[in-house]
């Protein structure tokens, strides 16, 4: 862990290159240096990973020997930790998650924190799933629950070729093949328990206590099998520089994220599978298993095409990695990535591989024949629709083009940042010996630090500007935002914590009309409150930053006013959609600000990464023996 033994620019320098590039002179005659914790100046510049002052974790030599430390690099979470010397969050203000984790650690139950958190989170999700679901008892079309149930029904009864063509007006399958395979598996199990739940055609609109329990159980189990491990690995890999307590709190805050619980366990969908695969891809990027990451990301895409929102960020990162590796290794990685991706896609689409057949799934998955937006979505188009009637102006084809241009423009800064960052890092650290180039293959690209911000920017620009967006798609930008919260602290650097939570809460609010229709009002309040209490957030207590403070207070004030008005006032007959439209306006404003903020943060960090010049006078000549002795010495320095 480079941050532990050095400070300032050198730490950045070494982050990029691994611990190999230490000059001989330093090994033989180490310059006496203050402990890095005392070097606040360096931390102000880079906020290098430090031992958190409140941590119970001892600095021990064993830390240097964990598997990951062989690939030294900066983690984005390192940027979020508070600089030493700044006042820590007062005990009174921290949420129950931290209190509970602290108590568990003190009571000698440290090892139980993760299992208990996971069972507890699953339990809360199950409690929410006792409530209503989309389209309960509303024939003839019902809702998302019936759509999913219907797919279980058609996939187990029809041959593969008919999956995307069978009776399309009644909830025809419109998700990619992995969803279809997943439906098939769940349907097989379900019809083994009770065949009448999924009898072809006859079972349409089937609703019973037991079939509901089964369907809910499939959601929870898929969640536990994909999303839970992904979150666990995230905490273990991305936050490995942080104390055990922070990791545990992060795990809880990710698992209890209200929006995912409300949509998946309440409204009824399987988004956590898509999010879980995407997160697994991120987890693989940290340990530099880029091919695994590509496979996971394709799986995510093949579960729900909405994962495309992440594609610019992940794609640019991987491309950046190729640039970073230099012409030889980079090209090799590029081709391997391309081959893996194509192979995975081909495998998943295997049954539809004739030119005639492939059209069916594709036209279902990318429905450009539908409208710009359905219902009310808190994005740019729907919000500005109040003033500018886009659809009348441009017509469908023009809108498709315009929305594509807007979206691309929305994530372009992020793509440029990731590519330029990787290229300049490669420029600065490019050595003349091949051994060192090879070394780089094993570490991740320095731009990894920016990736949560990049994901946020890219998915938010899709959400705000792209064609055919659902209100539930806000879950995609929410995931990176929650990842940022999980590593950050109240009043911390860059206000990540405050922005992430504001975005989360407003996103839950933006789904209020939907949840209200599903009869999940109680769960909406309960789960949001639960999560905010868990992380210890209070809107009145936002300390840092004038912009975020004003934005939080005004948006929470507006939300509260809207909820009160909704119970007291009945909307005038001329504007039956008054409240949903107001909801869209409030939410879209906050989402827009979050999008701008994510670009700003990405740029800040990108600048910090690319900023320092390369120290030309220190050409790397370290031998493997020298490396080892440096390693040992720095461990001693730490203890």
């Amino acid at each position: 862990m480079p941050g532990f033994y050095s400070a300032g620019f050198e730490s950045i320098y070494r982050c990029f290159t691994g611990s190999s590039e230490v000059s001989q002179s330093e090994i033989h005659a180490p310059v006496p240096r203050r402990h890095h914790l005392l070097q606040t100046e360096s931390q102000k510049w880079m906020y290098t990973p430090s031992i958190s002052p409140g941590s119970s974790r001892p600095v021990s030599p064993t830390m240097a020997h964990d598997r990951l430390s062989r690939h030294p690099q900066l983690s984005f979470s390192a940027l979020l930790e508070q600089p030493a010397g700044q006042k820590r969050v007062v005990d009174e203000q921290c949420g129950w998650a931290r209190k509970w984790v602290r108590w568990m650690h003190r009571s000698g139950m440290r090892g139980w924190v993760i299992p208990v958190s996971m069972v507890g989170a699953a339990w809360i999700k199950w409690l929410v799933s006792l409530g209503g679901y989309s389209g309960f008892n509303t024939p003839p079309m019902f809702g998302d629950y019936e759509a999913q149930r219907h797919w279980l029904e058609i996939t187990i009864h029809l041959p593969l070729r008919q999956w995307y063509t069978y009776d399309l007006p009644y909830w025809g399958l419109d998700y990619p093949p992995l969803t279809a395979y997943h439906s098939w598996l769940c349907g097989k199990i379900g019809s083994w328990i009770e065949p009448s739940w999924f009898a072809l055609d006859v079972s349409r609109g089937y609703e019973s206590e037991d079939s509901k329990t089964f369907m809910r159980a499939t959601v929870l189990l898929s969640d536990i099998l994909v999303y839970f491990p992904a979150v666990f690995l995230f905490v273990k890999r991305f936050l490995r520089h942080r104390s055990g307590r922070t990791q545990h709190v992060a795990l809880l805050s990710l698992l209890l994220q209200p929006a995912v619980i409300l949509i998946d366990s309440g409204h009824f969908q399987y988004n956590s599978v898509m999010l879980g695969f995407a997160l697994l891809a991120l987890d693989s990027l940290v340990v530099s298993s880029d091919l695994t990451a590509a496979v996971f990301f394709v799986l995510s895409l093949a579960f729900k095409q909405m994962a495309l929102y992440y594609a610019p960020a992940i794609g640019s990162y991987l491309l950046g990695k190729c640039l970073f590796l230099g012409p030889h290794h980079g090209r090799s990685l590029f081709f391997r990535l391309a081959a893996t991706t194509i192979l995975t896609v081909l495998l998943l689409f295997l049954p539809w591989l004739s030119p005639a057949a492939i059209r069916n799934p594709l036209s279902r998955i990318f429905p450009f024949n539908r409208g710009l937006f359905e219902d009310k979505v808190a994005n740019f188009w729907c919000a500005s629709d109040v003033v500018v009637k886009w659809r009348r102006w441009l017509g469908a084809p023009g809108l498709v083009r315009l929305s594509t241009i807007f979206t691309a423009a929305g994530f372009a800064p992020m793509v440029w940042g990731l590519l330029y960052g990787a290229w300049s890092a490669a420029e600065r650290t490019r050595g003349d010996n091949k051994k060192q180039d090879k070394k780089r293959v094993q570490i991740s690209c320095p731009t990894l630090v920016v990736i949560p911000y990049a994901l946020l920017t890219s998915s938010l620009s899709f959400f705000l500007f792209s064609f055919q967006v659902h209100e539930k798609s806000v879950l995609l930008p929410l995931m990176p935002a929650t990842l940022l919260i999980s590593g950050a602290e109240s009043g911390g650097v860059g206000e990540d914590w405050e922005w992430g939570i504001l975005f989360n809460n407003v996103a839950v609010f933006s789904m209020w009309p939907l949840l209200k229709k599903d009869g999940l009002g109680l769960q909406y309040v309960a789960v949001t409150l639960l999560w905010n209490r868990a992380i210890g957030y209070s809107p009145l207590n936002v300390k840092s930053g004038a912009v975020i403070r004003v934005l939080s207070l005004s948006s929470y004030g507006a939300i509260l006013a809207l909820h009160i008005a909704e119970t007291v006032v009945t909307p005038p007959a001329r504007y039956p959609d008054l409240f949903p439209v107001l909801n869209v306006l409030i939410s879209a404003a906050v989402f827009g600000c979050t999008w701008l903020w994510s670009i700003k943060r990405g740029a800040e960090i990108g600048w910090a990464l690319a900023g320092p010049p390369r120290p030309r006078d220190r050409e790397p000549k370290a031998s493997s023996v020298g490396r080892r002795s440096v390693h040992k010495m720095s461990v001693e320095e730490n203890t």
């Binding site: 005990d91 003190r106 000698g108 069972v119 509901k212 109680l522």
Partner: protein, 543 residues
């Protein structure tokens, strides 16, 4: 100044006043424990510490999320009582038979329902409509569930007070939290639907008064409680002896008449408020016949895990043995044909002699007398608490037509003893695990299976683990090692039991429908019987 310290001192001095001496273990308990809820009472709230506030909010959120969960007929029973008390005059409360769920709780509970019915009628008049049977709109569900949560705050307040004056606040804090979040209450009150939290709150308040040396309050609160729900008669003997010995008599055995009269007056006033109106109306007999229906059978639908469950199971096994081996034993033919498969009604034994209400009454009373004799000679607070638990325990084990829910009557007071010694903790552990598992069959719907199991497991880890560590003693003798192992195997057996129950369930044979219940009941009653033996032994050996 630290207010806790003063309270601790005060409780020590009150201890001195009624036990005569401070036992050394109490002083030991003052020494720092290996674990703490590090509590920094900040400026935020003097009334609730931040941990307590968080727990209150968290538990309320959980209970609110349970609103749409399964609810038993008890929900309709209580709705009907709201309707009866709201739409009928007092004189007709105990006569109404519009619904099959007639009012069969004592008058205070009827008054309580009357109070609850006033806001109910404002929220939705259909709730209190007598003819509107099985009303299950969202309004009535939310309203009734909310009243359970709000009235349960009585329990929370009592438990909070327990911490403030405890000898060992850190253990008491865990015990208090564990009681407030007890899976028993979650299952019986917040899912199945009853108001136990509220009534156990009164009971704990009364016990707290006993701990703090306020005997008249202790008696008064218990008299009030008795008029809320008469099931607490099971533990009334312990109250009677304890108050008689420590309050109505001087320590050297002379009657203390003024004290006796003041206590008697208080109790009589409570009963006048409760039964008075019905006595004046000449309805006392009708009321009593509602409260004590003796027409029910020995066992409830699902056999409560007590001694009779074991006896009934033994009878079934013997019957099977007789029919297979053809042994020459007189068999009751009616029992063979009508082996009551868990139906409400008389349980008739085929081989063993039949049990009549008077038998159960005699057995229960003789056990209670033994415990009360001990209490008479050692009338300390701890002794009272143990005797009270044991009285409830004896009634549960040997009573007539005991409900599985009555196990709370053991679990709640026993929890207060859990941190006293490792032996008591072990007893508490076995009784709690068996008792809580014995409540599982109350919720038979599939959706609630995960809820009850996962919650109980988490609760067990959080609450029992720390108590175990704080009291742990290494088993020192060979028999105790063997016992320790056997008990561990028994606890682990619940995992096997649950899997067995699932497997029988999954086989889907109608003839086996009662088997999971039978197996559960027998296995739990083994643990509860052992717990009874253990606790009785500890009571007579200790102090």
């Amino acid at each position: 100044m630290n207010p806790k310290g003063i309270d601790t001192l005060a409780s020590l001095t009150t201890d001195v006043s009624h036990s005569g001496k401070v036992s050394p273990e109490k002083i030991d308990a003052e020494s720092p424990q290996p674990f703490h809820f590090k509590e920094r009472h900040g400026s935020s709230s003097a009334f609730l510490g931040s941990t307590e506030r968080e727990i209150l909010i968290l538990s309320t959120i959980i209970k609110v999320l349970l609103f749409p969960a399964y609810r038993s007929t008890d929900f309709e029973v209580h709705r009907n009582w709201l309707a009866i008390t709201h739409s009928l005059p007092l004189s007709k409360w105990y006569y109404d038979t519009t619904s099959e769920w007639t009012l069969d709780y004592p008058p205070f509970f009827a008054y309580f329902e009357y109070v609850l019915s006033i806001p109910a009628s404002l929220i939705d008049p259909k709730i209190v409509d007598l003819k509107n049977l099985r009303y299950d709109a969202w309004s009535v569900i939310a309203y009734q569930r909310t009243t359970v949560i709000i009235t349960e705050l009585v329990l929370g307040a009592a438990l909070l007070r327990f911490i403030r004056g405890a000898v060992d606040p850190s253990s008491q804090r865990i015990i208090s939290i564990s009681l407030f979040l007890h899976p028993g209450f979650l299952i019986v009150d917040h899912i199945h639907f009853q108001y136990n939290g509220f009534m156990f709150g009164i009971l704990l308040w009364s016990i707290l008064a006993a701990r703090n040396g306020n005997k008249p309050l202790c008696g008064l609160l218990f008299a009030i409680l008795l008029n809320f729900k008469h099931i607490y008669m099971y533990i009334a003997p312990a109250y009677f002896i304890y108050l008689l010995r420590t309050y109505c008599m001087t320590p050297n055995g002379r009657p203390n008449l003024p004290n006796f009269l003041s206590l008697a007056n208080a109790v009589v006033v409570v009963f006048i408020f409760s039964l008075g109106p019905f006595v004046l109306l000449g309805q006392l007999n009708q009321l009593l016949s509602r409260l004590f229906p003796f027409k029910r059978g020995l066992n409830h639908a699902y056999w409560a895990p007590n001694a009779w469950a074991l006896t009934t199971a033994l009878d079934r096994v013997l019957l099977r043995y007789v029919t297979i081996s053809g042994a020459d034993i007189a068999v009751n033919i009616t029992a063979v044909s009508s082996t009551s498969r868990g139906q409400i009604g008389d349980t008739v034994f085929a081989v063993l002699p039949n049990i009549k209400p008077v038998h159960t009454f005699a057995i229960t009373l003789s056990f209670q007398i033994v415990f009360l004799l001990k209490l008479w000679f050692v009338p300390t607070y701890k002794s009272f608490l143990t005797a009270l638990t044991l009285c409830g325990y004896a009634s549960f084990m040997f009573g007539w037509h005991v409900h599985e829910k009555a196990v709370l009557l053991i679990l709640v007071p026993l929890s207060l003893l859990a941190a006293d010694s490792h032996a008591l903790y072990r007893t508490y552990l076995i009784v709690t695990v068996a008792g809580v598992y014995g409540l599982f069959p109350l919720l038979f719907t599939h959706a609630e299976t995960f809820i009850k199991i996962a919650y109980s497991l988490i609760w067990g880890f959080m609450c029992l683990g720390p108590l175990n560590r704080s009291t742990y003693e290494f088993p020192s003798t060979f028999p105790s090692v063997v016992l320790d192992r056997l008990e561990k195997i028994y606890i682990a057996g619940f995992g096997v039991l649950q899997i067995t129950v699932w497997l029988i369930d999954a086989s889907g044979k109608a003839s086996l429908a009662f088997l999971p219940l039978l197996v559960t009941s027998v296995y739990c009653s083994l643990g509860l019987s052992w717990g009874f033996v253990r606790l009785s032994y500890l009571y007579f050996r200790k102090t």
